[in-house]
């Protein structure tokens, strides 16, 4: 099945000491072999590119968003506008959006928006607008797109008339970074705990195993809830953010630890480790040079599959109102609106947007994780 043959061929008597076919594979590093194997997984590859893009957007949120997340407007609960290129008379135009005309439903007093075909707001690229800090450092005011007159709400507005599209882009910043940073934290915890457990064995290992079993047996959401409850409500947003990070990783390290331990246990018995001991390599060196490089691929797979769990965790906690809170903008915080039945029913864009974002990102991570799992062992079929 594989184009990269790494198994042992029947050897020829005559030129046994000659190198094997001078293919690319012969000189490639294991990392490169992994990459080649991963690339053959089309869906995984494109999901990977998509995620890279998503994280790029996250890092430069201000540029992609036409507005700023807390900028209010007079259009409350406005539904998403559609980008059009055909004008009212059927003529071709540069992309534009129509303005709204708002009336109120006299029974429910809910705002009702209809398209106002007399107001046409052409979409412009690289427009100047609200100032923001690129990468959190460089002040700038150029936005990828925007309108110079009127307004543009590609994903509708919320109860304060804030642009949902902007809020989604800014929400990515929190939600995606929570996923990444939490996983890094749990990676460190998991590697250390799993490594110690696997390397030292004995009672240390037994106790660690029981602790991990215990944590796995505790239903995640309830435990997260319990831990999140301890985060004081009056803490500033940044503290809350870090507290939630810690809460999320306090549980997810177990999967990394299990993988790390299992791999360490298996590797410890490998002859190349014995060889290293026999020629006098110290424990530290064996861990650094022989063990860690050989578990990294498995660890990468584990964390790729752990990130979506964390993202869902953040979303769930914030949705329930015990995670992050406004004015922090995360997809989970945005979903809090869906606690209200009227919002679910009458202003679906308020929750469909963040919900779609979560699903698409989680899906992409799962695809990448699946591909990475297949590629993790470059020496298997």
């Amino acid at each position: 099945m594989s184009e990269v043959r790494t198994d042992m061929p029947a050897e020829e008597l005559l030129d046994e000491a000659e190198p094997r076919a001078e293919s690319r594979a012969a000189i490639a590093s294991p990392l490169r072999l992994m990459w080649w194997k991963f690339k053959r997984h089309r869906v995984a590859l494109w999901s990977g590119y998509f995620l890279l893009f998503a994280y790029l957007v996250m890092a430069t949120a201000g540029f992609w968003a036409p507005s700023t997340p807390n900028e209010r407007s007079r259009q409350l609960y406005a539904p998403p506008q559609w980008v059009k290129i055909i004008g009212p008379e059927g003529e071709l135009r540069r992309p534009f959006v129509y303005g709204y005309e708002m009336t109120r439903d006299l029974n429910t007093l809910r705002p009702v928006y209809t398209r106002d075909e007399s107001q046409i707001y052409p979409i412009e690229l690289f427009v100047r607008g609200a100032e923001y800090k690129l990468l959190g450092l460089i002040p700038w005011d150029v936005h990828l797109f925007g309108v110079s007159e009127g307004y543009i709400y590609l994903a509708g507005t919320d109860s304060f008339g804030r642009d949902m599209f902007t809020r989604l882009v800014y929400g990515a910043r929190i939600t995606l970074s929570v996923g990444l940073v939490s996983v890094m934290l749990s990676l460190v915890l998991g590697l250390i705990i799993g490594g110690v457990s696997g390397l030292y064995g004995g009672w240390v290992d037994s106790v660690t195993q029981r602790v991990i079993e215990a944590i796995i047996a505790i239903p995640t959401i309830p435990l997260w809830l319990g831990l999140a409850a301890a985060v004081p409500r009056d803490w500033p947003a940044v503290y809350q953010y870090f507290a939630i990070l810690v809460v999320l990783s306090l549980i997810s390290w177990t999967s990394t630890a299990r993988v790390a331990r299992g791999r360490f246990l298996a590797l410890r018995e490998q002859d190349f480790v014995t060889a290293a001991r026999v020629y006098g390599a110290g424990t530290g060196r064996i861990i650094r040079k022989h063990l860690v490089p050989n578990i990294m691929s498995y660890v990468i797979v584990t964390i790729t599959l752990a990130i979506p769990t964390i993202i869902i965790g953040e979303t769930a906690l914030s949705f329930l109102g015990v995670g992050l809170r406004a004015p922090t903008v995360s997809w989970g915080v945005l979903l809090q609106e869906a606690q209200k039945i009227q919002v679910i029913q009458f202003y679906p864009w308020l929750w469909i947007g963040p919900a779609l974002c979560v699903i698409v990102i989680v899906l992409a991570f799962n695809f990448v994780g699946d591909g990475a799992r297949d590629a993790a062992d470059p020496f298997s079929k």
């Binding site: 215990a214 047996a217 505790i218 959401i221 809830l225 409850a229 329930l320």
Partner: protein
């Protein structure tokens, strides 16, 4: 078998002990102690005297060192006394007795649902690898995995209110809410519970189905399958006879992960669908820092998980003696 059970029971006791420490840790975690939060929660209404606060502190031993407090708490718990919910002014035991049955009544059928649906689909997907059906199930599986169940709940509420004018949420439809028990009322309840089961079971089904497919594919690539095929056994009989049996055991043994996930799913979905399980109770407890209640719920749910896993492990060993480890 006997020594296996003894060893597993000892391990289980150790695990439960660690869980109880985690739960106690949750109680201790909020800044200040719970008397502070109790006082602040009732301060709005009644006034509470300094003496009363002191008495409360002494009653719960909050002046004592942590270890003593844990000891006091766990002895009480072991005697069935989980403490008091400050917010609701009722014993935690009462509240649990009220809410826990429904949690179980949803979790257990959901778990069965997951395996009952996922295993046949997994078998089909593996046997008909790369068929249209396989791709379809794989696709649906990935989507199912990616949608958190509370979102699925929201989608369902939206669809039913929007297009079916129906009413989702709660254990009963409004017309049955206060009606006396009748066949129609039971049917109505089952309908609402079935909805919950599907919502909660989706992601578990998606995951289990993938595992089953992978396990069976591994097994089907073994040499003995080819031998059996050469002997002219009919395809389905051949597959069901040995490979499926081998592949199913490890899949069923994932229950240790599935069960906690089901309970998590139940609790969060219950808050969306407004079902009177321990979920909404826990959420409220957590929001008002009613820590005895919160920790007790976490403890009970976890211990039930451990016991459930234990039972399923025993059943597995009993059914397939090769598993013993």
């Amino acid at each position: 078998m006997g020594s296996y059970i003894v060893r597993r029971v000892l391990q289980m006791i150790l695990v439960v002990f660690i869980i109880s420490m985690v739960a106690f840790f949750v109680i201790q975690l909020p800044p200040g102690d719970f008397v502070t939060s109790y006082v602040s929660s009732i301060a709005a209404g009644d006034r509470i005297t300094q003496d009363a606060i002191l008495a409360l502190r002494q009653q719960f031993g909050l002046d004592e060192p942590l270890l003593m407090q844990y000891f006091r708490w766990i002895t009480n718990v072991l005697q069935g006394n989980f403490g008091l919910s400050f917010q609701l002014q009722r014993t935690v035991g009462d509240l649990l007795a009220e809410r826990l049955p429904l949690t179980l009544a949803i979790t257990i059928p959901t778990t069965i649902f997951v395996y009952a649906v996922a295993i046949p689909i997994g078998i089909y997907s593996a046997v008909k690898q790369y068929s249209v059906g396989d791709y379809l199930f794989t696709f649906v599986g990935f989507i199912g995995l990616a949608i958190p169940n509370f979102l699925l709940g929201i989608v369902l509420i939206y669809l039913s209110t929007r297009y079916f004018g129906g009413n989702v949420g709660g254990l009963f439809s409004p017309e049955f809410e206060n009606a006396p028990w009748s066949v129609a009322r039971v049917l109505d309840m089952s309908r609402n519970m079935a909805l919950a089961i599907i919502i909660i079971g989706t992601s578990g089904t998606a995951a289990t189905m993938r595992v089953m497919r992978g396990m069976l594919l591994d097994e089907l690539s073994q040499a003995y399958v080819e031998t059996a095929r050469a002997k002219g056994l009919s395809e389905w009989r051949l597959i069901m006879k040995y490979p499926v049996r081998v592949a199913v055991s490890p899949v069923l043994s994932t229950v240790g992960f599935t069960l906690p996930a089901m309970i998590s799913g139940t609790e969060i979905t219950a808050t969306v669908l407004n079902l009177p399980t321990t979920g909404p109770l826990l959420l409220n407890a957590v929001k008002s820092q009613d820590m005895f209640l919160a920790a007790s719920i976490i403890l009970i749910l976890s211990v039930l998980t451990v016991i459930g896993t234990f039972i399923s492990d025993l059943l597995l060993v009993w059914a397939d003696p090769r598993i013993r480890l």
